[in-house]
Amino acid sequence: MIHHAEHLSIPGRALLDRRQFLSNSATALGSIALTNLLGIDGLLGAESHGPIIDPARPYAPRQPHFPAKAKNVIVIFCAGAVSQLETWDYKPELIKWDDRPLPGGPAVTFQGPAGNLARPQYAFRQRGKTGKWVSDMIPHLAELTDDIAFVHSLTSKSNTHGPAENFLSTGFVLDGFPSLGSWVTYALGSESQELPSYVAIPDPRGVPQNGANNWGPGFLPAAFQGTTMSSKNPVRHLAAAGVSADADQAARSLLQRMNARHLEAHPGDSKLAARIASYELAARMQLSVPEINDLSTEPAHILKSYGADDTQNPDKAAFAKNCILARRLIEKGVRFVQLFNGAYASGGKLNWDGHSDLKAQYDIHAQILDQPAAALIRDLKQRGLLQDTLVVWCTEFGRMPFFQKGAKGRDHNPDGFTCWMTGAGVKPGVSHGVTDELGQKAIEDIHPLYHFNATILHLLGLDFEKLSFEHNGIQRRLTNVEGKVIHNILS
């Protein structure tokens, strides 16, 4: 049932090559044994190699490289680039320098001429036991800082949303590389066999700035593509519209018998068996997906705590429902959930791209993000799920300490911004890395996003250098040829 050489590394395959399939006797072994054999031989040892995928059960759980701290992941992805200066990276110096030019600062940034420095647009205060300064923009999330590990010194390779979202999600600025969730589910499969292993939940206001590339499989098998669903839009093609239950069942069982007869006539072909299995899996999904999306079973106090009952703010209520959906997916053992907050480019109206009137727009966006996301983390914690689940909050880059000329918003800044994690394996209440006193550039413990992604893999028990896939002559990795685990934020 197991597919062979496709899942071996290049060195492994080169060995096969050289020995002409390890001569007659050894080829009889299954590929697991084969991999072991190659491992013993020392060639695979520390080298990279991919997991072995059973085509009949692509989502079957698989072992990590080393014992994992986290089993599942929820990534809260804020599209449009959230300003670090209005949220987590407190810069009192900016208050002093408010409305003065930045000496020696750039004349032109991404969108055009730079204006004067601008103070943080929200008041900051100290929170929790750690006394972390967080802004009033996000009062609910701010209460959780004792549990969070912040990285304030991240950098991106691009100052343009599209390439930068690619970089955050796939480790490459170009289109077409596998996303983090695809890598993770490729490596680890899923604990759930009745739901997609990797679910991407778009914001109720629309798709994020770089769309499907944020959950695309790139050159990994299509099985590891993120499946989109949300509280509003369930998975497509769950049922045949307009077909009676009887006729549907009849077609299904007829197909089963056709395939069984065909398999009998073609014994030993694992691809045929895998395909039959996929229809059985699909049948189970048809039942379990509508169930997971049915929030009517959630008690009123839960809906309230997330803000899902907020009739005044339908976007917030819809995002809150997505947050509840994320929790329900994790409860059922789904490996990787990507929860988007913020939609496509819209002059900052639908996402965090605050170029022109940052404060006014962030007032709206923060309402949608804050309570639901905080409630999600609390809920996970209260149910004990945070012990196994890593929650990541991220955005593609940060924003400049000065306003744009003639505007009340900040331009793109890839040189120093904040993302954070909490939950399984994360050291609570730390702030790692520092930007300069105006918050423009990372100056200490600088971490390109490669490091952040490597750390996520590490928490899942995956070695970012080992997890790789051959594509057009290159053993590709999530972190390209870079990467480093940020140990300071690990428990």
């Binding site: 007659n24 006729a247 009849a250 065909h262 045929l272 057009n472 002559g473």
Partner: protein, 907 residues
């Protein structure tokens, strides 16, 4: 870099009065114990190895050279072994070097880092000593594919399987060459008189062949109809390249010619072919940052995509790897990489006009019509009331407004908007006519107050580019206001300005409802010649009147005006029907950028300038740095398309082989380098390559050789004993059956249901509600004749998987797909079982069957099997199916057939 905590004095203290440090006795043992695990023969972390002199003294990728003879203090090797920073100290794990060891290394370097020749225990692998870089073997005797295959099988004590039954072969070869199943009629004829050679000729002559094989090519070059990245704008003129590829396969264009056309087709009269150069995702001008580093990085990325594409597609080499450092495995230096960039450094990702004879003729006709229209407008203009003449002029319209004034001298014309009906104003075209009736604003210098750019839609230069409509317009960046100024090279006498929001009449928003027009003569004195104040006040609800139909002109004159206007409308209608402006996204060519070697691929760290040249270990084509643009690409094309190039023919015959057997003789079709897989049958690969060249690079000749071989004809049935020896069937002891690709499944369902529309070529049909953009894509679910064309004619939105078939490993056109995976997922099952498409086609299939088979249910079942599976149902199948069809209808069977393994897998 941080200062080390290591006592500085040690760096300078040479062991006094001791014998000089000896590399073999003193230094190498330290390297062996502490460094070789990561920097030795097996691993070269950071690109550094310390076991071979040549490599060690060159140093690693990032901090090299690491050993600077005589200068221990400046040598990063010493920095790393003495660092106090936990993140950078070497070795990273295990024991640190002792003070004595550090002294030894320091002394050795300060003494000149003497590393005697000939003491190394290992040699650097010669990267150019590799099978695929050696000439293709020549053959004098007669050979057959089967003999090569049999020889390899015999080595493993294996042998070929029995031939497949004739229908299986027919089905297999028909899918393989056309991507469609044989019709029952074709099957019956073949059974009556089995003539494989004639069948293959029939299939190769079918236009369906090019549609099938072009898809394989488009996978490799990552073709799409949008620009990719965040905005994913429509690339409306990409499809002529897709059509070119289909035609090239159908015409059996010699492969060497096919290469040349795609690289330098502009010199060969095949414009659309150079679409190849610009197939990648690209950031359009308005999507790149305004800061210089952003622009440089975007240009580098777009050049990199070209070099990568050329390297992997034609040469099967990952040339792109050398962008940041010398290639780790292949003899491609970073300098080679940039020399290759220099060969394409004059290519820009843009539309170019198609120079086909039809397009040229159409353009000529357009010019004539435009002259006629201009003449008519001039005649009509006398019926347009003069501005500022006291006469009430008609209300502003979104489509077109004429402002006529008495002839005046003008060097500059400024059109200023004071108010709009909403939002920022948008103007699709501003035309200024001289008294001779010519539009002199066309392509004149233009300045604007500001602009809100949507690349390829709203840009300043579109306001006077001669193209009408919203998608070629200027948009101001200010609410309700903005101005456009046109400047002529010399003073002109003008009497009319014509402007509109959308001459195509689709958009009525963003309309200037209050404006004035000023002109300045050569002396620079401005005066207002027209404004909106004497127009009837704007009322969106009111019907707009034609400009010339003014009150108070005599009846006879009004008649004349009416006739003139009718003529004008007729001409304009002709104009919009003319296919004159057909462009192709095939790049434009300009003076090449000066290309520099970039440190670590960073455009902000340029090093020496690089001249255009081909890969130095594989050729010696080097051009002058002044060489003109086209000459560069011509040189590149000639070098690749040469029969002497060891890679070109091998790489292509391997792709063709892969198209027939699912896997190539070389399993890594775009990597023939040291890191790729070796061919399973090297002799066969070389024989095919030499045969390819001998045949005049005929792709169809290769198909004939392959599909008529006994190897291709054998049964796909497995057998346990052989599977034990070669489970992946790489030695071809049976035909390796595989699942059909996404396109073949969709196209075949349509062919079977009788709905397939065989219209070829042209603009792609819609899979989604949008053809590009950033706000998400909703699938089109209703079947129409247009979207029941073959899938290669779908408008391909980059990165957006088609809602039903995308899950069948359809490439997303982000990166190249040299070989498709065939994964199996429950999402595929849901899509294929439940989608509207399947249900619609099942219905259509059922009604076709009823029409062809009549009322008898058994005959209906028979017909359905014939159409979908090219065979009769067995008695058992008939018995099993009959009650089902009786109770639940024929559609149930049709839906099951479309989902059956027998349909989805090649026999």
């Amino acid at each position: 870099m941080k200062l080390t905590s290591f006592p500085i004095y040690l760096l300078f203290a040479t062991a006094v009065a001791a014998a000089p440090v000896d590399f073999v006795r003193d230094v190498r043992p330290i390297f062996e114990t502490h460094c070789y695990e990561c920097h030795g023969e097996k691993k070269h972390k950071g690109g550094l190895r310390l076991d071979v002199k040549e490599a060690a003294l060159k140093g690693g990728d990032n901090d090299g050279p690491n050993i600077i003879p005589g200068k221990a203090k400046e040598s990063s090797l010493i920095h790393f072994v003495t660092s106090s920073d936990e993140d950078e100290v070497m070795p990273p794990k295990g024991e640190r070097l002792s003070a004595a060891q550090i002294t030894t290394l320091t002394t050795w370097i300060n003494e000149g880092a003497v590393w005697p020749d000939g003491v190394d225990l290992v040699k650097l692998k010669d990267k150019s000593d590799h099978w695929s870089f050696k000439p293709v073997k020549t053959f004098t005797d007669l050979h057959t594919i089967d003999a090569f295959i049999d020889a390899k099988l015999a080595e493993q004590d294996l042998h070929r399987s029995q031939p497949a039954d004739p229908v299986s072969w027919l089905r297999r070869v028909t899918f393989d060459l056309t991507g469609l199943p044989p019709t029952p009629g074709e099957a019956a004829a073949f059974l009556k008189k089995p003539d494989p050679a004639a069948t293959v000729e029939r299939l190769l002559a079918s236009p369906r062949y090019g549609e099938r094989w072009a898809q394989h090519w488009l996978d490799v070059v990552r073709y799409a109809d949008t620009h990719g990245f965040e905005v994913n704008t429509e690339r409306p003129n990409a499809w002529p390249y897709r059509d070119y590829v289909i035609q090239a396969f159908n015409n059996d264009t010699p492969y060497a010619r096919f290469i040349k056309e795609q690289i330098v087709g502009d010199a060969l009269g095949v414009d659309a072919a150079t679409g190849f150069l610009v197939t990648a995702s690209v950031l359009l001008p308005g999507q790149i940052g305004k800061d210089e580093p952003s622009k440089r990085l975007a240009r580098q990325d777009s050049l990199d995509e070209m070099v990568t594409n050329i390297g992997q597609t034609f040469l099967g080499l990952s040339v792109g790897c050398a962008r940041c450092h010398d290639h780790k495995f292949d003899p491609i230096s970073a300098k080679d990489y940039y020399a290759m960039q220099a060969l394409v450094a004059g290519v820009e990702y843009q539309d170019r006009e198609l120079h086909t004879p039809e397009a040229v003729a159409a353009r000529e006709r357009m010019k004539q019509i435009k002259t006629q229209v201009a003449a008519l407008e001039k005649q009509l203009s006398r019926f347009v009331p003069l501005a500022k003449s006291g006469v009430k002029r008609p209300m502003i319209t979104a489509r077109e407004n004429v402002d006529r004034f008495s002839p005046s001298k003008a060097k500059r014309v400024r059109f200023t908007i004071r108010e709009t009906n909403n939002l920022e104003p948008c103007v699709d075209e501003l035309e200024v006519f001289n008294t001779a009736g010519a539009n002199i604003a066309l392509n004149a210098a233009v300045t604007v107050s500001g602009e809100k750019v949507t690349a390829d839609r709203h840009e300043q230069q579109f306001v006077n580019d001669g193209n009408y409509g919203n998608s070629r317009s200027w948009m101001s960046n200010e609410m309700g206001k903005g101005w456009v100024m046109i400047e002529f090279t010399q003073e002109q006498e003008i009497d009319r300005v014509i402007w509109g929001r959308d001459r195509e009449g689709k958009f009525k928003d963003r309309l200037a409802t209050s404006y004035f027009i000023e002109i300045a003569d050569a002396s620079g004195t401005w005066k207002t010649v027209a404004d909106s104040d004497d127009r009837e006040s704007f009322d969106a609800g009111k019907a707009t009147k034609p400009e010339f139909a003014t009150k108070g002109i005599p009846k006879e004159e009004a008649e004349v005006a009416g006739k003139l206007r009718a003529q004008k409308i007729a001409l304009e209608k002709q104009l919009s029907g003319l296919d004159t402006t057909q462009k192709v996204f095939a790049g434009i060519f300009r003076k090449p950028d000066e290309i520099h070697l970039l440190n670590r691929g960073d455009p902000e760290q340029p090093k020496e300038e690089v001249i255009p040249a081909v890969l130095s270990t594989l050729g010696d084509v080097r051009l002058d740095k002044q060489s003109p643009e086209q000459q560069r690409r011509a040189a590149l094309a000639d070098w690749i398309a040469s029969s002497q190039n060891p890679l070109t023919a091998r790489v292509m015959v391997n792709r063709i082989w892969q198209g027939h057997f699912g896997v190539g003789l070389v399993e890594t079709p775009s990597d023939f380098g040291n890191n790729g897989m070796k061919p399973t049958h090297p002799e066969l690969l070389d024989w095919l390559a030499s045969e390819f060249i001998r045949s005049g690079w005929s792709v169809k000749h290769m198909h004939r050789l392959i599909v008529l071989s006994e190897t291709f004809r054998q049964s796909s049935a497995s057998n346990a004993q052989a599977a034990e020896k070669d489970s992946d069937v790489r030695l071809l002891w049976r035909f390796p059956s595989r699942r059909l690709e996404a396109e073949a499944i969709r196209d075949s369902m349509l062919a079977i249901s009788g709905q397939l529309n065989l219209k070829m070529h042209g603009r792609g049909y819609d899979l989604f509600d949008k053809r590009g953009g950033l706000s998400g894509f909703n699938p089109v679910e209703t079947s129409t004749p247009e979207n029941q064309r073959r899938m290669i004619y779908a408008h391909k939105v980059r990165r957006e998987p088609e809602a039903v078939f995308g899950a069948f490993d359809c490439p997303d056109a982000g990166q190249s797909t040299a070989a498709r995976r065939a994964s199996t997922t429950p999402i595929q099952a849901l899509n294929l079982f439940n989608s509207r498409f399947t249900l619609d086609q099942s219905e259509a299939f059922a009604s076709r069957v009823k029409k062809e088979a009549g009322e008898d249910i058994a005959r209906q079942i028979q017909r359905a099997y014939q159409l979908a599976l090219t065979r009769e149902p067995t008695a058992e199948e008939l018995n099993d199916t009959l009650p089902n069809v009786k109770k639940h209808g024929l559609t149930t069977l049709c839906r099951a057939l479309f989902n059956s393994n027998e349909f989805l897998f090649q026999p």
